[in-house]
């Protein structure tokens, strides 16, 4: 049943003879069906009731409500209807006194809580109290236009007009639209007079393209096409976006050249309310490139430099600048400047994520220090975090260890509230992220053996052979997803347990091995995503499920909520899958998400991407509500950049390219910590870093050089190979026992077949010929020690 929007409300309708029958019956039914009490009031002249007759059909209508004793405090809406009702009610036997109905109307106008609905000839009743409508916008029957002018009202040629708490309608013919407007206003819980209109001074960010610059005023068009005008002041500063470790670059001497149409700019400004609207005065401008239309992050070395700086930051924070790499000193929790907090936990996933970042940094830079940090990290994971289960022939990973006082207490189950006392799939998945990325470089058979053991764990204990997919948690003793000790995590599946295999390790594992088993597992997970996650009840995907794939809308913080970045992550990875096992429905869903998400998850005024929102709108809402805040998290920006880059790179067009640039612009302007190094966790909607609580840290469970490094690595790959059609050189370091088939696979990501070829290979500094250009593979020689391979990839000319 539909919600009754006027439940508990009272609508009073004035009555007299010569009413319009259809109109009155319409109000009776319409307001009643919305749950309102409908009351008819007239001047009873001391009688118990009076019976009136309609204008058209002379229909009798008996009224028992006396307007002279009406209690306005119990009335929410007072309607003066069409016909001759108003004229009859303004009769007064004493020409020096107002008629009782006029007095009632005057009192009602004195209370902005009461909606006054006046239609057709109804405004006649206000003639003796013209001050109540003076200067207000109204409509009325054409015959009354002169009357309302004389009353000082502002006649407006519309069927229905709202002026704060006064709703007017043209004629009885328009009673439906008139009633609808009244219902909307009452349901919204406030007469128009109390609608909040900001009129104070505030500061905010505008992101947009310059459309003009004249006499110190910039005209901008925001990402969603709204015009904004911004004035420069004598104290407006301007800078260029800069990379980590680069000094401040002043741009204020180049404004005339930079403020040319089409150039993208961020404006931090002050909004002053005056003369009925806002004047925006710029205080700080940030330009994305030295020349109009240039984007610094599209320079060939932007992301490569950035991953180098990130690698140095985490190297320094964990082990010192150039001291020995000793993981006994590793700590998960790092403060803003990289210093260690008084906390002695080493989490498996944060080490694994750092191994991922360092491996990626080596691949782009060839800096062997990064490789060393990665290799030692993988070895540490093997020695301290791994549980080899001989009975089941599987491997699993501890949540972490507590190394206080030199001891080593295993933290077997997750220490996080979401996953407490359970082994969450999410943590096991991310335990593989770093080792798998490192395996791509070295082919270390010990790493592959652990990956295979963990995959057997997934197949044996997390997989649901009947309904497909992977459960999100298993219990620590029996390794069952159905154990009652799991509580709200019992027999559940979620976005991470199904969808995070691909981005965290599985695509990389397929790239490293070419093993079709992994392609098949990818296909299974993507088929499940396409089948179960898009739902008709919301434009956002469903992220939590029961075993039978019915939605779970009750779980802990998630409830019926959407993580914007998960939607984008699906689009990004579906497009990667298009280069492994393509399906029309993968591309269709990725494109659909890419097209609709800007309106659902991005900030059209300031740029950037939001965090968690309600999947569904409550009645009367037009905007999906933020669950906790309107901050923007670094990793969700990453998902947007990669999703739109790959959508654009795989034939998606200019609109996706624009979104990729806008997303990268926001990230590059606001997420880089130029003071301390590294990347901020969250920024406020206007781009200022949010530095309170856990969001101040640089090493928490997902921060630790994972997403930021992944962005540097893949943005380089997509920008150069797919968008700019420029070559890219990568570094590898195969061990003598690396890769059982002695084949090094150098494709940096899942790329469309035929788009990129391996142009040349260098082995330990010398040209090397044993490679397959099309397959992007290198046949490795026998060697006694690790060899350094440089692989030069080049786009194939059309």
């Amino acid at each position: 049943m539909r919600e009754k929007r006027l439940a508990g409300r009272t609508v009073a309708i004035l009555m007299e003879s010569d009413f319009v029958e259809q109109e009155l019956h319409y109000y009776q039914r319409r307001f009643t069906e919305e749950g309102a009490r409908v009351e008819f009031l007239t001047r009873l002249w001391g009688q118990d009731s009076l019976t009136f007759h309609g204008h058209e059909y002379k229909e009798p209508f008996t009224v028992t409500g006396d307007l002279e004793s009406a209690d306005l405090s119990a009335i929410d809406v007072l309607i003066v209807p069409s016909g001759m009702v108003s004229d009859r009610l303004r009769y007064s036997e004493d020409v020096h006194e107002l008629a009782p109905a006029v007095r009632l109307l005057k009192e009602a106008f004195g209370d902005p809580r009461i909606i006054k609905g006046v239609i057709c000839h109804g405004l006649w009743l206000a003639a003796p109290i013209a001050e109540v409508v003076k200067g207000r916008r109204v409509t009325c029957h054409n015959n009354l236009v002169g009357d309302v002018h004389n009353m000082g009202a502002l006649y407006t040629d519309q069927d229905v007009v709202v002026d704060r708490d006064l709703v007017t309608g043209r004629t009885a013919e328009h009673c439906a639209a008139f009633a609808r407007m009244i219902i909307d206003l009452v349901a919204a819980g406030r007469p128009a007079e109390t609608v909040y209109r900001p009129d104070f001074t505030f500061s905010d960010l505008v992101a947009g393209y310059v459309t003009g610059f004249e006499r110190g005023e910039i005209s901008l068009r925001t990402n969603d096409g709204r015009p904004v005008r911004v004035r420069l002041t004598s104290t407006t500063s301007a800078e260029f976006a800069r990379n980590l470790s680069e000094p401040y670059l002043d741009a204020s001497a180049h404004l005339e050249q930079l403020l040319t149409p089409g150039n993208y700019v961020f404006v931090k400004g002050i909004f002053y309310y005056e003369n009925g609207s806002y004047t925006v005065e710029a205080k700080a401008l940030t330009f994305l490139g030295r020349q109009p239309g240039q984007y610094a992050f599209e320079q060939p070395d932007w992301w490569v430099k950035q991953i180098h700086e990130l690698g140095r930051f985490y190297r320094r924070a964990q082990f010192g600048d150039d001291g020995p790499i000793d993981y006994a000193a590793y700590r998960t929790m790092l403060r803003l400047g990289g210093e260690k907090a008084d906390q002695h936990v080493q989490e498996t996933d944060t080490i694994s994520r750092m191994v991922y970042g360092m491996s990626s940094a080596y691949m782009l830079t060839g800096d062997e220090d990064f490789l060393e940090v990665a290799e030692q990290g993988a070895a540490y994971l093997r020695r301290h975090m791994r549980f080899v289960d001989r009975d089941e022939d599987v491997v699993y990973w501890y949540h972490g260890i507590d190394v206080r006082d030199g001891g080593e207490r295993k933290l077997f189950t997750s220490e996080f509230g979401d996953d407490y006392d359970a082994i969450p799939m999410y943590e096991q998945i991310y335990a593989l992220a770093g080792p798998t990325q490192l395996y791509r470089l070295t082919g270390d058979p010990r790493i592959l053996s652990d990956i295979e053991g963990t995959l057997r764990l997934f197949a044996k204990f997390f997989h649901d052979p009947e309904r497909g997919g992977y459960f999100s948690h298993i219990d620590p003793i029996l390794l069952s997803p159905h154990h009652e000790a799991l509580g709200p995590n019992r027999s559940r599946k979620n976005w991470n347990s199904v969808g995070d295999h691909a981005p965290a390790y599985l695509i990389n594992l397929f790239l490293a091995t070419g093993d079709e088993r992994h392609a098949a597992m990818l296909e299974e997970t993507f088929d499940l995503i396409v089948r179960h996650m898009p739902r008709k009840d919301s434009p956002y995907v469903q992220e939590r499920f029961h075993a039978d794939w019915t939605p779970d809308t009750t779980w802990h913080w998630q409830q019926d909520r959407a993580v914007v970045g998960h939607n984008l992550k699906i689009a990004w990875n579906l497009m990667r899958m298009m280069s492994i096992r393509p399906k029309d429905r993968y591309r269709a869903l990725a494109t659909e998400i890419g097209e609709k998400m800007p309106a659902l998850g991005s900030d059209p005024q300031r740029g950037g991407w939001y965090d968690v929102v309600e999947r569904r709108l409550a009645p009367g809402q037009h905007v999906h509500r933020f669950v906790w805040h309107d901050r923007k998290a670094w990793w969700q920006q990453e998902q947007a950049i990669l999703a739109y880059q790959i959508l654009a790179g795989l034939g998606g067009g200019e609109e996706f390219l624009r979104r990729a640039r806008e997303s990268a612009a926001f990230y590059s302007a606001f997420f880089l910590d130029h003071d301390e190094g590294g990347i901020y966790f969250n920024v406020l909607a206007d781009g200022h870093p949010y530095l309170l609580g856990t969001e101040r840290f640089k090493g928490s469970h997902s921060m630790s050089m994972c997403h930021a490094a992944e962005l540097c690595f893949l943005a380089t790959v997509y920008q150069r190979l797919l968008l700019d059609r420029e070559p890219l050189t990568l570094w590898f370091r195969p061990r003598p026992d690396g890769f059982a088939d002695r084949v090094l696979r150098v494709a940096p990501d899942a790329l469309p077949p035929g788009r990129v070829r391996l142009a040349w290979v260098e082995l330990d500094g010398s040209p090397y010929q044993l490679f397959d250009a099309e397959a992007m593979t290198v046949k490795l020689p026998d060697s006694a020690s690790p060899v350094t391979v440089r692989a030069h990839l080049a786009p194939v000319e059309d």
Partner: protein, 101 residues
Amino acid sequence: MSFTMKMNVEGDTATIRLAGELDGSSAPDLNDLVTQAVGRQVGRLVLLLDELTYMSSAGVRCLVFAHQKLPRGSQITLVGTKPEVAETIRLTGFDRSIVMR
């Protein structure tokens, strides 16, 4: 060979004697027992294993989980561990967290 277990708590120390083969099916029973010890928040858990001929990985999981749940600084000591059982434990890395005698 069947599996038997017995716990004795004295002061701050819980002593558990395990005998026979601790396979996957008997692990929940051991878990119940160590959960009792955890419930009493003992500072020392001593396992007498000289009569234990086999310990499944599920058995090790019970001990690891118990160690996580015991108060910080509490100690688990294994006495009389046979080489086969010690190897199972070594493969889980748990040997780094306990005393084996």
